[in-house]
Amino acid sequence: MSLFAHQVRADQLIFWRGRESAVFVFLFPVLLFLLLSTVYSGEFEGRPLTDYLVPSLITYGVANTTFGGLAIMLVIRREAGVLKRIRATPLPAATFLGATLCSTLLVFSLQAVAIMLLGRLLYDWHFPAEWPSLLLGFALGALCFAGMGFGAAALIRSAEGASAVVNVLVLPMAFLSGGFGPTRDFPQFLQTIADLLPLTYLVEIVQAAVYDGEPIWEEPVAVLVLLAWGVAGSLIAWRRFGWEPRER
């Protein structure tokens, strides 16, 4: 078994064993989907509401899991000295970071599949005609938000700070970007803020695919904004990421 596969397996074991993190990171978006689809019903833009909720809650999962979950996990491990300890072993840094990314994407994929399956079983949800763009959007979003996750981990100084920062960022961002429901009736200043947030553009790509049958390449601005955020996060990580505890 290659070293990379070994490390992904290790990361998976560690992730699912940590009950709290598994519940928060994996289950929370799934539960939120169940909650929202139970309390709201009816149609949106002439389609069943599940057509809105399934992809939207998956975009929330992108922010929650590949950004928030990743950043918190890295900071906690760094502050506990786990990263420092691993740094003395022959495991190359690139293998470690690549496996971390891969393991996070795996958790996100399972989460997305869970939401789609529940949508299918409970509400007879089906893929839209433009399903390849939907999946491409999720993949692009997951990668870009993971880049931001690495960047955030490099900036956050303490383990307590990590969950605070992530909680303050992710939920309001999902709310403002339309991840939990349409925002067109929001006051203008909230929509202005939303225009600055990367999740808004992921939601845009996804909804264009569902409601307008528009392929992802017809949303070049949204794609570029997402990429810019992802690259910015990765650059910060490249320059600032540390393996040793910042505070002790």
Partner: protein, 281 residues
């Protein structure tokens, strides 16, 4: 070739010099102990050798390589116990060891390592349920699982009960018998005396004394104590036989008893404390 060779090593943290030009070497198969009070620069030195920190000046060679370059080949051959570190709370002892074993080309058998550090009874316990000393034993196991040639132990027995400390000493002796080179730091003088082939005493970033434990002890003197007219008298001497003879013959001639008479050689600890006292700031 020396397993570790350090010459004129210097390191400062933002203007504050923590290591101020130290020189020492470890022969292959040697157990070398760094002693010194808090803040003396032990961890700084050891972490430079492990490749965590860059040096400001001096030459350092570890197994013939420069640790600053962080060669993977070097990391294959060293084992590390950090002064502080944790591992994943929710996986078990053997799972943690298996994960680490997977990082090395030729790891040791995990069960063997578990037995070596005396964690058999806890092999399937989650790391978060281990006691402080048991976690420290896991740290030690993680340092050994790659079957290293050179082992760095930064205060490895801190938090051990006396029995566990004895076991750790046995373990270190066993590793030495296998020809491993070991650099350890400790605050326990008896530990240095028990384990080390050579000791260096570090203070304020400078080595103030270096030698075998018995060489360090050579400066130790014999103390004669007794009580006279209610007051305790302490005489330190290099000629205990003659002095004792004088004292006792006088007392016998005067028909007195030397109350609470005690003759003792000062321990490494006394020598160490003297050393730290005598050295000017």
């Amino acid at each position: 070739m020396a397993a570790v060779d350090v010459r004129g090593l210097r390191k400062s943290y933002g203007g504050q010099e923590a290591v101020r030009g130290i020189t020492f070497a470890l022969a292959e198969g040697e157990v070398f102990c760094l002693l010194g009070p808090n803040g003396a620069g032990k961890t700084t030195t050891i972490e430079i050798l492990e490749g965590y920190r860059t040096r400001d000046a001096g030459d350092v060679s570890v197994l013939g390589l420069d640790p600053q370059r962080r060669d993977r080949a070097l990391r294959e051959r060293i084992g590390v116990v950090l002064q502080h570190s944790e591992s994943w709370a929710n996986v078990t002892v053997t799972e943690t060891l298996r994960i680490f074993a997977g990082y090395y080309r030729r790891p040791r058998d995990v069960d063997e390592v578990v037995a070596l550090v005396g964690l058999d009874a806890k092999r399937d316990a989650r790391v978060k349920t281990l006691s402080g000393g048991q976690k420290r034993r896991l740290d030690l196991a993680l340092a050994l699982v790659g079957d290293p040639d050179l082992i760095f132990l930064d205060e490895p027995t801190t938090g051990f009960d006396p029995q566990a400390r004895r076991n750790a000493w046995e373990l270190v002796r066993g590793l030495r018998a296998l020809g491993k080179t070991i650099l350890l730091t400790t605050h326990y003088l008896d530990e240095a005396q028990q384990l080390a082939d050579r000791v260096a005493v570090l203070r304020d970033g400078v080595i103030v004394s270096e030698g075998t434990p018995s060489e360090l002890m050579a400066s130790s003197r014999t103390e004669i104590r007794y009580r006279e007219n209610g007051a305790v008298k302490v005489i330190a001497t290099d000629e205990p036989t003659r002095l004792l003879h004088e004292l006792t013959s006088r007392a016998v001639a005067e028909g007195r008893e030397l109350e609470e008479l005690e003759v003792r050689r000062s321990s490494l600890e006394d020598v160490y404390l003297d050393l730290l006292d005598d050295t000017p700031e």
